[in-house]
Symmetry: C2
Subunit: 433 residues, 2 copies
């Protein structure tokens, strides 16, 4: 291989950006040995030149001007870690147009405007790498794109938000309520001061959209997928789930339905059987279960966020880009064709957990069962514990496979019954094979 160094423009010097710089420095020798060349950050764009930083940067390589990176003819590769959408889009677009490869960790950017960006990349014959955009240090992008290349991907089910998984784990194992667990996550730096994007499911949703695009070559628009967060998960349901042999996890589900050619993409808190390997993914860890028609069941586990794990993925992308730029210039295999269309959430099928707080008098269960039956929804099991307050009793039902739309309809009817106190709570139960 050539001995000429790869010159990198690093845009963004927040948590991950600083990690990329630090770890390239730290393992410079190893990287040179393995890639056959030096990887050198020659320019860094920061937001604020005056900001105190734990890492000292040579003054002559730092700028606040993104154009100084994209217009620098010496730079081979731009690493986009500025976040956000509009400025990041312009940065990536201009970089590609100026003949540079791009590495990005920006999941929102790709989920919202990936289709446009990959078209621009193709037009200019320059690659975009994005391993860090999904599940931090877990190499799920390369795995699906390259290692499972011979497989039709049948389904993907992922714990792809560490903040939510930490909160749910602590609620389940330490008996904390949602607010306590969230507070703890914030105190430990696992959740932001404003945790909205994590707990409302949208961080996971952006990753699910990217995984769907990789698996099925189809960019599902953000407004066409169903996203629920964990704000409504509470200790009562975690307790009942536990009794039934399940834990509650926030899952991103991606699945092709061959009959209709449509792709199910959704993020929802879901019951997972305790003895399934996904149930043993705890704390801030992420894991992604991928089912392929040849390989069968596979799972990839690791840190889904954090400075170091995420920079491990960025560095792997830089190495890949370095290799590609020296050879063909392409990014390997084609995965962004157009195979499918999103499946409406109403049509997606699973089992369900349903908890109803109903008046404790004869006939109530029969009325609930009648509504479910009239919607063709089978009941798998019922728990009605003896200890409850005098007037209202919780009834927990496990429901058979049914379309989400029908279940929601039935539950709305149940909710309208005069014997029901609070709005019924229901979660999907995922049969993960």
């Amino acid at each position: 291989m050539s001995a000429s160094p790869l010159k990198i423009g690093l845009a963004g010097f927040g948590n991950v950006g600083a990690g990329v710089y630090k770890n390239i420095e730290k393992n410079r020798h190893l990287l040179r040995e393995r890639t056959g060349r030096d990887l050198i950050v020659t320019r860094i764009a920061v937001k604020d030149l005056e900001k105190a930083r734990p890492i000292e940067l040579p003054a002559d390589i730092v700028t606040t001007d993104l154009d100084a990176l994209t217009s620098d003819k010496e730079i081979d590769l731009i690493v986009e870690l500025i976040g956000g959408i509009d400025r990041a889009f312009e940065l990536v677009k201009t970089s590609l147009e100026n003949g540079k490869a791009v590495v990005t960790g920006n999941k929102a950017l790709l989920a919202e405007r990936g289709q446009e960006l990959f078209a621009i990349a193709e037009k200019h014959g320059k690659p975009i790498y994005y391993e860090a955009a999904v599940a931090g240090g877990i190499p799920i992008i390369k795995t699906v794109q390259e290692s499972l290349i011979g497989n039709h991907i049948q389904s993907v089910a992922g714990i792809i938000n560490g903040t939510c998984n930490y909160i749910l784990t602590r609620m389940s194992e330490a008996g904390l309520d949602y607010k306590e667990a969230l507070g703890e996550a914030q105190a430990l730096g696992y959740a932001e001061a404003d945790p909205t994007l994590d707990v409302n499911g949208w961080d996971a949703a952006h990753k699910a959209i990217i995984l769907a695009s990789l698996s099925y070559g189809c960019w599902v628009p953000c407004d066409q997928i169903h996203v629920e967060g964990i704000e409504n998960v509470n200790a009562t349901d975690i307790g009942f789930a536990e009794k039934l042999g399940y834990v509650i996890k926030l899952l991103g589900i991606i699945q092709l339905h061959e009959e209709t050619g449509s792709i199910e993409v959704r993020v929802q808190p879901s019951l997972v059987a305790k003895d399934h390997i996904l149930a043993s993914v705890k704390g801030v860890f992420n894991a992604i279960l991928v089912q392929g028609d040849i390989v069968g069941e596979t799972l990839f586990y690791g840190s889904g966020a954090g400075q170091d794990p995420t920079s491990s993925s960025v560095i792997a992308d830089i190495a890949d880009a370095s290799y590609a730029l020296e050879t063909s210039g392409g990014s390997g295999f084609v995965t962004h064709g157009l195979y499918g269309k999103p499946m409406p959430i109403e049509e997606t099928v699973s089992k369900y957990y349903l908890r109803v707080e109903a008046e404790d008098r004869p006939g109530v269960l029969a009325r609930i069962a009648t509504v479910l039956g009239s919607h063709d929804i089978g009941i798998l099991s019922v728990i009605q514990p003896e200890d409850h307050d005098e007037e209202y009793a919780p009834i927990v039902l496990m429901l058979h496979f049914a379309p989400f739309g029908k279940v929601r309809e039935a539950i709305n009817q149940i909710n309208a019954m005069d014997c029901i106190r609070d709005e019924p709570i229901f979660f999907r139960v995922e049969d993960l094979g």
Copy 2:
């Protein structure tokens, strides 16, 4: 990309070879879309032309002559799935010399003669791919080589033999004894009629050697690593382990010790804490835990054997080779330098589980403790159950971190004591972080 097809010579048409052929046919369209070219098996070398096969092969592409493949100028790539060492070595060597890329799933070949083969490959500028050689469908080779390229690998711990994991899972969960579980594995096709290479640990050892070479660039000679199988694992110890909060797994351990620059490579049945994710790897599944200095803890899980999962890896290698042959011709990153030397097993350190059947009279535990103390081995806990036969009582001790050599010495001394009935049984207890 060019539209010229990649021409493949497939050597070996056993279980995996037939799977590769079948699955390339099955997903031909997908592979063409993703790789940009046709992958065509133009020649197949079989052992016996007359053998009845479930897959019908065009007569004109089948031969019993390996030279017909290696000398065929049209063939770009040889897939070596004939197994064994000497003939496979010649086949791979000749293929490389004749300018062909090679894909192999032959772990014994690489563990025994990988160093020579990679030197030949380098000399001729042609790549060898071997994803299928370790852990079947799990893409661990590419992950360590490419996705973790920026990491110093700190340790690898793998459940890398599905037969053993099936047997241990059934012993643990169904209470079977070793022979019953082995019989069941044979009946289900998870173990060979002669299961020696699986149950004695050598299949796992070959994989561990390959993982060590990838992680540390050092080919550890087969005769310099310590290998134990599962033949001596019994229901009694599985029961005690369970009480102590552990399961027993056959683990391949690979770890660099920076102080000495030496590499620990060993295969041993070991106690793993029940709440560790490796403990939830059951049945014939494999999983590999990789610790990197940047990425932290990662785990890769899937089917470690079988026609389809293994062929998924072979096909991924074929796709990679196809891409490499169209571009640089190389195989990506360099990982086979020479960094380390094997660490003698005596120096390797862990905690231990020790079970002794001793005469049930005063002073015995004190004598055992004295021997351990004189070898600087701390005791973490002791179990001596009340229900036992009248003369001999089992004593189970959990021992603190100590070098294997010292522990073996101490146990030999304990074994020589007149109050000890059977040879003491001990297993390592792995602290997997």
